[in-house]
Amino acid sequence: MASTDVAGNVPAFLNQNPKDRIIVLGVPLPLLERVGLYVLLAAVVVLPMVYDGYDIYEFGKILMYMLAVLGLNLLTGFNGQFSLGHSAFFAVGAYSTAIMMDQLGVPYWATIIPAAAVCFVAGFLFGLPALRLDGLFLALATFALAIATPQLLKYDGIAHLTGGVQGIVLDTPYPPAWIDGIVMSITGEELSIDRWKYMFTALVAVIMFAGAWNLVHSRTGRALIAIRDNPLSAKTMGINTSVFKSAAFGVSAMYTGVAGSLFAIMDEYLAPESFTFAEAIKFLVGGVVGGIASLFGAIFGGWFVLEIPNIADLAASSLENYINNPQGLTGLIYGLFLIFTVYVMPMGAAGLAQILVHKISTRR
């Protein structure tokens, strides 16, 4: 075909493929990405050796939120379906774990897989009627789910399971004796409960992150992305869009649900007020600021939704000498952070990283 006519109009950096020809500061991009992955993994392993107490608990929380955001990213970023109701699946996961521990005496570590299964089924079933809803209407339907959830959890009829308004207090998730033994023999000190909570959370998070990685690079992942880009075309490729969209809802709910399970285990307590609509918005914020169609973006998103409110709080408190009662400004400062973030990184942290890489890259 004539090959002179059609060039041009292409943003330069999108042309700079294949990937392995891109050099960033002397390092080929695929190598850089792999090194980045190992550095992250190393950080996850090293953190509990350095930190303890509240610090390490916070890191665990970041990973927990990362998983919740990842769930939303898989649905919205990779499959193009909106949800303002993921707090509901977060609750399903958390309560599944809590009820199993509280009512059935299941050890905390054994609740993760069944809770994941429950959430997958819940998400899949919700995904079926959601097939008929598009865009904003789906957002509304999921919103309904989000506002119904805390009310439902308080409902008297199931209060013997959920603990009603009081919630459920859970047993402390002590490490298995053999892990305690190993740590003792290496370090000579007892493994603190905070460190163990982090390690457990990190283990689950790393496994699930790897699972998401494989998923989006699989045949199923291709189908999900095709549906996002062009649902009608996807059908003519022979993709059963109904099945894949419902499954995407299921998997998404499973990720956010497992985050809920970890939340219950880490805090040893849960109550309906932890699962309000605000939580669903938190996940959405995390997804967007990280980069909604990115797996790594979820890490940034997790950090953002946990830490930026704290930072905003600190910033507000530091105004104490100048303004009366500056705590009232926390929300404002958080809002400013958020606006600043979306201006600086309109495609999220992942998009910014991509642009930076291409700015400082050369081609072989």
Binding site: A2, S233, T236, M237
Partner: protein, 236 residues
């Protein structure tokens, strides 16, 4: 018996009947043109064949009626590749990922090999293989749509306005390649076109649709010579 046999095809958008019950055949190994003005039902015909609109009557492919079957099932069972109006590019993935999606229903091990087959017809796509497909030009995206259809190893290709929005020179190239694909791969094609001249040139038979009915049918060269058709659709 024809490879694709349509009898009494009606199609509906909600309550509105868009096709009013006509017959149409596509012979094995041939290219058949479907011509007509806007709103004649050309696109709807193609959509009915691959189960994307509500239809009645019979559409028999290889002896099986496909009316009422899901799009996915028709595509997978009968190897019917639909090249939609507007190309239907998966914009945010690479060219090669688009091709890969064309082979979604295939389970064999020769998918990788077939990239080269597509690149043989469209060398331009090879240059663009790792580029985000949404950044390809209109012409390239149309090549991609045809190449993606080839990845199914189709028996039948349904092409909806392949010339849409393309420069005349590119359109001509594209039709040459379509003719080549038809001969070399033995793919039967149903081509919907506004550009009647080009379509008739590569076709053996042609149908002229008018407001949901077949107004005229016959060998492509006869249609091309028809006074009425020339005046209304060919413009000379």
């Amino acid at each position: 018996m024809a490879l694709l046999e349509i009898k009494g095809l009606k199609a509906y958008y909600g309550q509105i009947e868009a096709l009013h019950g006509f017959d149409m055949d596509l012979e094995e190994g041939e290219i058949t043109a479907v011509l007509g003005a806007n709103g004649a039902g050309k696109t709807t015909t193609l959509r009915a064949i691959c189960g994307m609109v509500k239809a009645s009557g019979t559409i028999t492919v290889e002896g099986e009626n496909v009316v009422g079957m899901s799009t996915e099932a028709i595509v997978a069972r009968h190897k019917i590749a639909h090249v939609p109006e507007g190309r239907g590019t998966f914009v945010r993935v690479s060219t090669e990922e688009n091709l890969r999606l064309g082979a979604f229903t295939r389970r064999d091990k020769e998918i990788e090999k077939d990239y080269e087959r597509v690149y043989h017809y469209f060398p331009r796509l090879k240059e663009r293989r790792n580029q985000q497909a949404g950044t390809l030009s209109g012409g390239e995206q149309q090549m991609l749509a045809v190449g993606r259809a080839l990845m199914l190893r189709p028996k039948i290709m349904l092409l909806d306005e392949p010339s849409f929005g393309l420069a005349p020179i590119i359109t001509e190239e594209l039709f040459k390649i379509l003719g080549k694909i038809n001969k070399e791969e033995g793919v039967s094609m149903l081509v919907v076109e506004q550009n009647a001249n080009l379509a008739l040139e590569i076709s053996k038979d042609a149908y002229l649709l008018e407001t949901g009915n077949v107004a005229m049918t016959g060998p492509a060269d006869k249609i091309m010579d028809d006074e009425q058709v020339r005046k209304s659709y060919l413009g000379y």
